[in-house]
């Protein structure tokens, strides 16, 4: 992808030699570092979960239904005897898959369209902005139910729904960056030296517009994880045999709050910590990338 190529060419994200400064400022932010460590743990669980979890995805402990936390089952068991601790670990894979893929779709659509709208302006800009307005007026739950009805209830439908609705926020951010950037003299210079529009957009302007996108994208992963849980809870998301935190809460049912709170608490905690981790890292990145704090110019 052009985006990745252009930033990696110089070996430094954002083409900024001051990457060391950014890293140092980020590491000073304790919450962001803890968040990053938690995200790293989640990624490990997402990839290696099936080997790390004490019990398999469909493994049931006969006779141990809705048991509370114990030495044997740290997070207790659910109403068909599955180990909740193992289920939470298995659930990380769905959350990360949905979070990363849906955000990737969001960014791909939002960044491309926002760049085009801001750079070319005129009727194209008006058209894309009206499409965005229409998009924002469609409740995503309605879209979610529709897509689940067409493609079936699984996490791929969830990725599609969240990806197809999430870009509406990014397009505006990128558009406004491009509106300002295209007036900068280096954009004009690039045109005067014969660079094509595509090259100017993706290699010259986009790297200058990435900072808010990175921050927004990071926080968006957390938001997507939350939405996935919500959709699964509403039974338009993942279904068994997939383990999903939202689904686990949904299965716990309303009665469990009184007699088996651990079935609600642990998947809920996993969701909350995941969202918090991404928000912390996003905030940390925002501060670390803030040009006003940079030790240059």
């Amino acid at each position: 992808m052009t985006l990745v190529e252009s930033t990696e060419h110089d070996g430094v994200p954002l083409g900024d030699h001051a990457a060391g400064d950014v890293r140092r400022r980020f590491l000073r932010d304790k919450a962001a570092v803890v968040g990053l460590a938690f995200i790293a743990l989640l990624l490990v669980l997402a990839v290696f979960g099936p080997w790390l979890a004490p019990e398999g995805l469909e493994e049931r402990n006969i006779g141990q239904y809705r048991d509370g936390p114990s030495a044997e089952h740290w997070f207790g068991t659910d109403d068909v005897g599955r180990d909740v601790f193992s289920q939470v670990i298995h659930g990380a894979r769905v959350s990360m898959k949905v979070g990363l893929l849906a955000t990737a779709i969001e960014l791909l659509i939002g960044v491309s369209l926002g760049a085009i709208a801001g750079y070319f302006g005129g009727w194209l800009d008006s058209l894309l902005m009206r499409v965005t307005d229409v998009g924002l007026s469609i409740p995503y739950l309605v879209l979610a139910v529709s897509i689940a009805a067409i493609y079936g209830r699984n996490e791929n439908s969830v990725i599609l729904v969240l990806g197809l609705t999430g870009w509406l926020g990014i397009i505006r951010i990128v558009r406004s960056s491009f509106l300002a950037l295209k007036e900068r003299e280096f954009a004009e210079a690039a045109r005067s030296l014969g660079f094509s529009h595509a090259r100017i957009i993706f290699r010259h302007l986009l790297p200058n517009a990435l900072q808010p996108v990175i921050v927004y994208g990071t926080i968006s992963i957390g938001a997507v994880v939350l939405s996935e849980a919500a959709l699964s809870f509403l039974n338009v998301g993942a279904v068994r045999p997939t383990a999903s935190w939202g689904l686990m809460i949904s299965e716990a049912g309303s009665g469990s709050l009184a007699n088996a709170p651990h079935m609600l608490f642990f998947p809920g905690l996993a969701i909350t910590l995941t969202v918090l981790a991404f928000v912390f890292v996003g905030d940390g990145l925002r501060d670390a990338l803030d040009p006003k704090l940079r030790g240059r110019e």
């Binding site: 030699h17 280096f186 210079a189 094509s196």
Partner: protein
Amino acid sequence: MTSDVLLSVRGLRTCFRLGDGGDVTAVDGVSFDVRRGEVYAIVGESGSGKSVTAMSIMGLLPTSARVDGEGVLWKGEDLLQARADRMRRLRGKEIAMIFQDPLTALNPVHTVGRQIGEMLRIHENASRKHAKARAIELLDLVGIPNASERADMHPHEFSGGMRQRAMIAMAIACRPDLLIADEPTTALDVTVQAQVFDVLMRIKDEINSAMILITHDLGVVAGTADRVMVMYAGRAVEVGTTDDIYYRSRHPYTLGLLASLPRLDDQGNEQLTPIRGNPPSLVHTPSGCAFHPRCDFAELDGPCVRDRTELLTVGPGHQSACHLSERLEGVTVASMRGGER
């Protein structure tokens, strides 16, 4: 028309649409030729249309601008009729521009070497390695020390003068036949200006290209340009060789610009004489000669107020758009200053 004419601009007219539906004519019927290897200076105040002229030639104006005229002939090809992809290939390869402010004309996120090399990669399909090597050569050529290390640095690590040299290196990377330098040294310190100018002139000779030098500073023109066009309110008011303009000017505006310049042979008793008033608004251009409200020679009951001016030949290759140009023969800056006191 002789064969050594590289660029021939004929009756160029550029209008901008305004929000209220009106039009502003920024360039009004400008014609000039640039020959191979020469330096052609376009001089004027802000808003005189000199930069718009350059942008019109390059086809770089926003869509709110309408460019027409009899033609912009580049080696015989009319650029006003050229397709967008032809223009894109022409820019940078055959005609390259150098911008006023090197602080902002380089992309902050890419290394300087990469930005220079990119020219060769898009116009000459150079390999990444070859482009890098050429970029270092070019940086060396424009007088940047330690070029191979400097190539890996970002623009903010360069001083102003070095950035403008880097811009020059970018512009000459493909050995264009014509360089358009739009106020190339205005944003730099005076001492650095001279250095950058030297580099620019040396490079121009080395790659044997012609140059259009756009400036508001007649002092810059003196040592460098072969011919000069003075613009005022979107029109050419005087055209001639550099000597014509400096020593035999036949236009009150040119004389006014010269009178506002400090001179090296100044004995310390001469005052700089600014041109009174402000450049005219292009929306309400004065009647008759656009310069008459500011002109010391204008006859307010004569043709100056009544009739539009046309360029009239006042000498070989020397034209002036002044109703009173005949009367200005022999008028010099010194006599103007003397006459005012």
